[in-house]
């Protein structure tokens, strides 16, 4: 009896916590609904919240949400995976070899601030308008932060660890794979966490610019035909996707590296 009461109390306090957290969002939705219902703005500019949710439901049933979203996610994650693979290798090499550092450092500091999205027309020219050009543009954008994150991680490995490994006769290859790489994993993971939203942004944006399916392309399509509720649906889909993925990566980080308590919560 007591137990049930305490569970109920905890449930209520959790609900209260969720409410205090989400009341600003609910407030924004309520203000939006009132403005739209009162007809203060033309429905073409701002549909009501209920219209947007009805449209979401319709699109969901028509299969216009899940399949395009999976397509966009595939492009984002394929590009991200590619950039992690290449970026980690280059970052580790730069930390361990003076030649690699000499060769890549100027290229990275020149390429890092460049707005890679401007390469869309070139990537279309080289790789077509299908998924390949989008995946490669995502990879091209994400590889720079991944290189920098890995390099920082590999440079931050404590000298004493390296000296101990050297004293035990560790070869350079083992040094990379058994010492440097594992100890820079937290940095690499932090890099992935920073880069994941970028991958999503680039995937969505290239779809908006170049078409070729995916949520971004459908969003532009809806705007061209002035289907404002659909425009809002796709914006909300993008927002939710980004939010959920960010939370998932946090969870994954806490699960993979439980010793990094303070980083996981920040």
């Amino acid at each position: 009896m007591d137990k049930a009461a305490s569970i109920a109390r905890r449930g209520i306090s959790a609900l209260g916590g969720a409410l205090t957290y989400s009341y600003p969002l609910l407030l924004v939705l309520a203000v939006w609904e009132v403005i739209a219902q009162a007809g203060l703005v033309r429905p073409l500019f701002l549909p009501t919240v209920t219209q947007v949710f009805e449209q979401f439901w319709t699109l969901l049933l028509e299969g216009e949400i899940v399949a395009p979203l999976l397509m966009s996610l595939y492009r984002a994650f394929a590009g991200l995976a590619l950039s992690v693979a290449v970026g980690v290798v280059i970052g580790l090499l730069m930390a361990r070899s003076r030649f690699a550092n000499w060769a890549f450092d100027p290229l990275v500091s020149f390429g890092f601030p460049a707005p890679k999205i401007a390469f869309v027309p070139i990537f279309i020219l080289w790789f077509g308008i299908d998924s390949l050009s989008k995946i490669l543009l995502v990879a091209f954008t994400c590889v720079f932060p991944m290189i920098v994150a890995t390099h920082h991680g590999a440079m931050a490995v404590s000298r004493t660890i390296i000296w101990s490994a050297e004293a035990m006769g560790t070869s350079e290859r083992q040094m990379l794979s058994r010492v440097i790489f594992p100890s820079s994993l937290p940095y690499i993971f932090a890099g992935i966490r920073v880069t994941l939203p970028v991958a999503l942004i680039i995937a969505f944006t290239t779809e908006m610019i170049a078409g070729g399916g995916g949520v971004g392309a459908l969003l532009m399509f809806a705007q061209r035909f002035f289907q404002t509720p659909t425009v809002f649906v796709y914006i909300l889909v993008m927002l939710t996707t980004g939010f959920i993925l960010d939370r998932l990566v946090l969870r994954l980080e806490a699960w993979l590296m439980p010793w990094l308590d303070e980083q996981a919560t920040s």
Partner: protein
Amino acid sequence: MSVTERIGRLAMGAEYPWLRSVSQMMPIVAVVLVWQLAVDLGLVDRNFLPSFTDTIRALWDITRNGELTINLLVSTYRAVGGLLIGSLLGVMIGMAMATSKRADQFLGPLVATTYSLPKSSLVPLFILWFGIGDVMNMLTVVLACLLPVIVSTYHGVRAVPPVMLWSAQAMNTGPSSMRWRILLPAAMPSILTGVRIALGFCFVLTISAEMIAAKVGIGKLIFFYGESGAYAHMFGGLLAVVVVAYVLDRLLIAFMHYLLRWHDSISASSAHG
């Protein structure tokens, strides 16, 4: 000292500083050489990759007839203007969130949920609301620059050591001068890190918005060259954007060093950007 070691030390600029900058240029020169040779030797189809000299010629061409200059100026105005407005707003909002519990409770969830939204997704909506032009473009840039600056200001202010606050309070510092004369300078390293992230966003957003819909702007120009098959001109425009973004990034770093000249991290690591 062996010969190779000596060459290595020379190349790293250990003895002559000017050699160091020459050495830093070498990899970029090498990439340009490979590019030029690959096209000239016919390893790559000229229609897919115009040679470096062709690109420079096209770049000179569009600079002289004013096409590049005007479009690049418009885009830079949008990007930098949006960055300035977004950073100022971001510092104010971040400061409010860090110093007032009520502001934090209200704005915190909004910031957390909109942080991961790709801001370019708002472009179609802003086209509907404001039409194609500066307002729609800059508003997207402002929103994109706002969030990283809010977050970095918030964390920077929160990380100010309490000892500093206590001393300021002991010296009778009012709430407003506490914010702008104690917390703001103390949080400046963190704020500027956020501004540098925002600088990266501002050009990306300007160019994406221009490629989606615009009448003028460098993104529009590059896309237009690409669609009409003027690939050397497209590469020329792209090269100009990359250089402008690089120069702005360097300028911001120089500005950061100037603002933070009192801070330990600068004198310790002045070499690394």
